[in-house]
C-alpha cells in the first residue's frame, strides 16, 4: 500500500458531512457483504438494494465534501484515501454482520435514527444537505419499515429466532449511545441551523423503536455502558479489515476509474 493518504483542513461543515458519509459508506459496505449469502433470494436482493441506497447517499455526501474542501480532491479521495483515524463513522455500522438477526437489529437501530435525522435535515439552512436529505428520507423510511418487519418476524417467531434477536439487541444496544453524541465542532453547525442537534433526539428515537420491539416481544437491555470512539476516529478492531477490503484497489492503483 504505497499510496499516501490525503490530508485536508477540517471545518465544522466538512466534519459533519464526512461523518454522515462515513456512516452510510461503511454500513453500505457491510450490507454488501451479504450479497450471495442472505437466507433467501428476496432478502439477498433487498440487502443489496439497501446497500446501494446507502452507497448512493455516501456518494452525494462525499461529492459535497470534495466541493467544500475545494482543493482538487474528488469523492473517491474521501471514500478511499483516508486512514482509519480520519473516518468518523459510529462503531455500530462497522460491527460485523453476525447472523441475519444481528444485521436486522443493527439496521433497525440505525435506520430509526437516520429516519429522524434526514426528516429534520430536509429543513437545513444548507441547501445541498437539505437536497440530499430529501432524497435519503424516503429511502431510509423504507429501510426502517423493511428491517422493522423482519425484526417482528424474528422476535415473535420461533424460540431460536427470538433468542438470536434478543442476543443481538443486548450486544448492539451498547453502540447506540454514540449516535447521540455531539462534539465542539458539531455545535457550530447545529447553532447555524445546518444540522439538527442529535444530542436531544434520543427520546424520539426510542419512541420510534419501542413499538417495533414490543411487537417483536424483545426487551430493551438495561445496560448503562455505552461504547464510544468512532466519532473521534477511534475504531474497533474490525474497522482495519473493512478498510483493507474497501481501499485495496485505490491504494494499489491510485486514481483508477471505471
Amino acid at each position: 500500500m504505497a499510496t499516501t493518504s490525503i490530508s485536508f483542513t477540517e471545518t465544522p461543515l466538512l466534519n459533519l458531512v464526512l461523518l454522515r458519509a462515513d456512516d452510510a459508506l461503511i454500513l453500505g459496505h457491510r450490507l454488501s457483504e451479504w450479497c450471495g449469502h442472505a437466507p433467501m433470494d428476496e432478502e439477498d436482493i433487498a440487502l443489496a438494494n439497501i446497500a446501494l441506497d446507502l452507497i448512493g447517499q455516501a456518494r452525494s455526501l462525499y461529492d459535497y465534501a470534495a466541493r467544500i474542501d475545494d482543493s482538487g480532491f474528488t469523492e473517491d479521495h474521501f471514500a478511499y484515501r483516508r486512514d482509519e483515524h480520519q473516518y468518523r463513522n459510529c462503531l455500530l455500522v462497522e460491527q460485523p454482520n453476525g447472523d441475519f438477526a444481528a444485521t436486522v437489529v443493527r439496521h433497525v437501530l440505525f435506520s430509526a435514527f437516520m429516519d429522524l435525522y434526514w426528516r429534520e435535515t430536509m429543513k437545513s439552512r444548507d441547501e445541498t444537505l437539505a437536497a440530499i436529505a430529501a432524497k435519503a428520507e424516503k429511502e431510509t423510511a423504507y429501510h426502517l419499515r423493511h428491517s422493522g418487519e423482519w425484526l417482528i418476524r424474528l422476535g415473535d417467531g420461533t424460540d431460536e429466532s427470538h433468542a438470536r434477536a434478543q442476543e443481538a439487541l443486548d450486544e448492539l444496544w451498547a453502540y447506540t449511545g454514540e449516535l447521540f453524541e455531539t462534539d465542539e465542532t458539531e455545535r457550530a453547525v447545529i447553532e447555524s441551523g445546518v444540522t439538527p442537534d442529535v444530542g436531544s433526539r434520543q427520546e424520539s428515537w426510542q419512541k420510534r423503536i419501542e413499538p417495533i420491539l414490543r411487537e417483536a416481544t424483545l426487551k430493551i437491555p438495561s445496560a448503562p455502558f455505552m461504547h464510544t470512539g468512532g466519532r473521534s476516529g477511534r475504531h474497533s478492531e474490525h474497522f482495519g479489515y473493512i478498510l483493507a477490503d474497501l481501499q485495496y484497489l485505490q491504494r494499489a492503483h491510485p486514481e483508477a476509474v471505471w
Binding site: E42, I45, A46, N49, I50, L52, D53, L54, I55, G56, Q57, R59, S60, E127, T128, A130, A131, I132, A134, K135, A136, K138, E139, A141, Y142, R145, H146, W258
Partner: protein, 170 residues
C-alpha cells in the same frame, strides 16, 4: 442584448438537442424515455453557447445515471452537438409524480405495474391494491419489498398467477 438571429439559432439548437434526447431510454426500463420517467429536467444553452442537459436520479444510488449521461452525449453527438454537458441535480427530489401518464401506460404494457396514486409517505407505506399489469385483477399480493432495481418491488397476481414488478410510489 441578443439579436433575433442569435435567438433563433439558440432555439433551433435546443429544439435539435431536445429531439435527440427524446430518444434516450432508461437502460433498466428500456420502454421508457428519460422524459417519460421524469429524470430529464431541462435542456438549455449555457452562456458559452453549449448545450447543458440536467438530469436527476430516481434513487440516491441509481446505477443508471452514468449510462444515461453517456447515452445523452452519444445521442447529441449523432446530431452534431459535440460539447454537451450533463449535470446531475438532487433538488427538487424526484418522485413518481414526475412520471408522465404516457410513461405509466407504457410501463403497464411492458408488464410493470405503474406507481399507484400520488407520491407521499402514506402512498409508500399504505397497503394499496395494485392492479396486475397482465390481467388487470386487483387480487394481488406483495412478494418482496425490493425487486429487480431499487425503484421496484416484487408482486404476484393471485388470479393469473404471474409474478410482476411494481414501480414503488415514492
Amino acid at each position: 442584448m441578443s439579436t433575433l438571429a442569435e435567438l433563433d439559432t439558440e432555439d433551433d439548437l435546443v429544439a435539435r438537442a431536445r429531439a435527440a434526447i427524446e430518444e434516450v431510454c432508461d437502460p433498466e426500463i428500456p420502454v421508457l424515455t428519460i422524459a417519460d420517467l421524469g429524470v430529464l429536467r431541462s435542456v438549455e444553452v449555457t452562456a458559452d453557447g453549449e448545450i447543458e442537459v440536467t438530469i436527476t436520479p430516481t434513487y440516491s444510488g441509481c446505477p443508471a445515471m452514468d449510462v444515461i449521461g453517456f447515452d445523452i452525449k452519444t445521442a447529441l453527438a449523432k446530431t452534431g452537438i459535440d460539447n454537451a454537458r450533463v449535470r446531475q441535480v438532487l433538488s427538487p427530489a424526484w418522485t413518481t409524480d414526475w412520471m408522465s401518464e404516457a410513461g405509466k401506460a407504457k410501463l403497464r404494457a411492458y408488464g410493470i405495474a405503474p406507481p399507484a396514486g400520488r407520491a407521499s409517505r402514506r402512498a409508500l407505506f399504505g397497503e394499496q391494491s395494485i392492479a396486475c399489469p397482465h390481467c388487470g385483477s386487483h387480487e394481488t399480493e406483495k412478494v418482496s419489498e425490493f425487486g429487480s432495481t431499487a425503484c421496484k418491488a416484487l408482486w404476484r397476481c393471485k388470479i393469473c398467477r404471474e409474478p410482476f414488478d411494481y414501480f414503488k410510489c415514492i
